[in-house]
């Protein structure tokens, strides 16, 4: 029972993250939408590397691809890679201060944006707007609060 409730809390944050990621926003604000999925996967893999694995990230990526209508596997590949990097280095990342992890989140976000751009441009000709990269900064801005909030949830619901 406790195992189920553990997973329920995690799945619920996944669901909320997916909704936030596709919530309709005005075109002006849309560019500043943080990469919620990257934040969520980064947090849970960092906190519970034995529970939240690459498989979770992969399935989330597939669902996200379907929601966005992008080519299947684009985000799945990206999120699995992210989870892999974090799982292999989580002992190191856990000793980082909040400022350092914020910079790390910015780096991950930027790399994922570049990788997405690269994958999409290999399929079709696309036009890059500078506003595409603004969400890197909003992700970094939101990360400390998001981290503290998710930690509160993890302790409150005793997810271990």
């Amino acid at each position: 029972m406790s195992l189920l409730s553990n997973y329920l809390a995690i799945y619920f944050t996944y669901f909320v993250g997916l909704v936030c990621a596709i919530l309709p926003l005005p075109t002006m604000l849309n560019a500043f939408r943080p990469d919620w999925m990257i934040l969520i996967i980064f947090y849970w893999v960092l906190a519970l590397p034995h529970r939240v694995s690459i498989g979770h990230a992969f399935i989330l990526g597939i669902v996200f691809d379907l929601l966005l209508g992008s080519t299947l596997g684009m985000h799945a590949l990206l999120f699995s890679l992210l989870a892999y990097i974090v799982i292999t280095n989580y002992q190191l990342f856990r000793y980082f201060t909040l400022v350092q992890t914020t910079l790390l989140v910015g780096l991950f976000s930027l790399l994922s944006k570049l990788a997405l751009y690269w994958m999409a441009s290999s399929l079709q000709d696309i036009i890059l707007h500078t506003s595409y990269f603004w969400s890197v900064f909003s992700s970094m801005l939101i990360w400390p609060w998001f981290f503290l909030f998710l930690r509160f949830i993890r302790l409150r619901f005793k997810v271990a």
Binding site: V63, L66, T71, A76, Q124
Partner: protein
């Protein structure tokens, strides 16, 4: 896992393996989309319910007036429709106008950063099909690119991978409109520098691709310029429909307007029209990787009048 996702990526992009299963997969995730759509529905519901009585009265009057005008126009329309039919019978070229259409609501706009698309709340259960034209009250918006059981995705005319065959309303010059990736700009490539085009010319669908019914307004020429010695003029256009501000759209059922006789007529006109057809057909799937090649095939448009029927 990584190998598997690379496999998925390649399978979906190159071989389009999941075209049929996407309907089910899309309907699997549609609950999330409905939840994401809830706040906006709630807000519009609240703002609709807090209108004052006076506002409603004014609006009602305005709508009644509009309705009267539209009905008066419609009287004439049926008359013109009959006349048009008779004339067409005289010319023995029959074209049927489609009447089936459906109002749909926009659920979300542009979620994928690399493409201009929107999500609508009608799907396969309503009879929506891939390639279906979508318009609003001002003009063409785009076409359906993916269908789920209760939702589907519309690719807008400004998307980079979208092309639409058009004709200038003033002088029947034909061209292909390409999306530019900007919200209010469309490119008109391969127009000869001596073509008779002006800023402000209205471009309407020519119906040559067989996908869009003919005669719907698409865009206005916003910029026409040419360099001395260049083969093609530098032309761009602005869509007439407010693409990112419309809440309700109209789906059209295009009952294969161009049957064999019409197509053979098109073949006689110009080679450019043929290229337009192939460009339109190839451009409709956003995942197809061969779009650059098809644009190359579009030959220079002759500035002669093309009579479409």
């Amino acid at each position: 896992m990584v190998v598997f996702s690379v496999f998925l990526f390649v399978a979906d992009s190159k071989f389009n393996l999941f075209a049929s299963s996407r309907i089910y997969l899309n309907s699997l995730v549609s609950p999330v989309q409905y939840v994401a759509d809830l706040p906006e529905k709630l807000f519009s519901g609240i703002s609709a319910s807090v209108m004052t009585r006076h506002e409603l009265k004014v609006r009602n009057q305005q709508l009644q007036k509009d309705n009267l005008y539209l009905k008066a126009d419609r009287l004439l329309l049926s008359q013109l429709e009959n006349e048009n039919k008779q004339l067409r019978e005289l010319l023995s070229s029959n074209r049927t106008f489609t009447n089936k259409r459906m109002i749909t609501e926009v659920m979300s706009l542009r979620s994928d950063p690399f493409s201009h698309q929107l999500l609508i709340d009608k799907g396969a259960v309503n009879g929506v099909y891939v390639g279906q034209p979508v318009i609003n009250e001002d003009g063409v918006v785009g076409q359906v690119s993916q269908v789920g059981s209760t939702t589907s995705r519309v690719i807008l005319i400004v998307d980079v991978s979208h092309g639409i065959p058009v004709r200038v309303q003033r002088n029947d010059l034909i061209a292909v409109l390409h999306g530019s990736g900007d919200w209010n700009k469309l490119n008109v490539p391969f127009v000869q520098s001596n073509a008779d085009l002006q800023e402000g010319d209205l471009l309407v669908t020519s119906g040559l691709g067989g996908r869009f019914p003919a005669g719907y307004p698409v865009a206005k020429i916003s910029h026409f310029d040419y360099q001395e010695g260049a083969a093609y003029a530098d032309v761009s256009a602005t869509p007439v429909a407010p693409l990112h501000r419309s809440r309700y759209l109209l789906l059209l059922w295009n009952e294969n307007q161009y049957n064999e006789s019409d197509l053979s007529l098109d073949l006689l006109t110009t080679s450019a029209s043929l290229a337009a057809v192939s460009a339109d057909n190839a451009k409709t799937s956003p995942d197809s990787a061969d779009t650059p090649e098809t644009t190359e095939k579009v030959e220079p448009l002759e500035s002669k009048n093309v009579i479409i029927e």
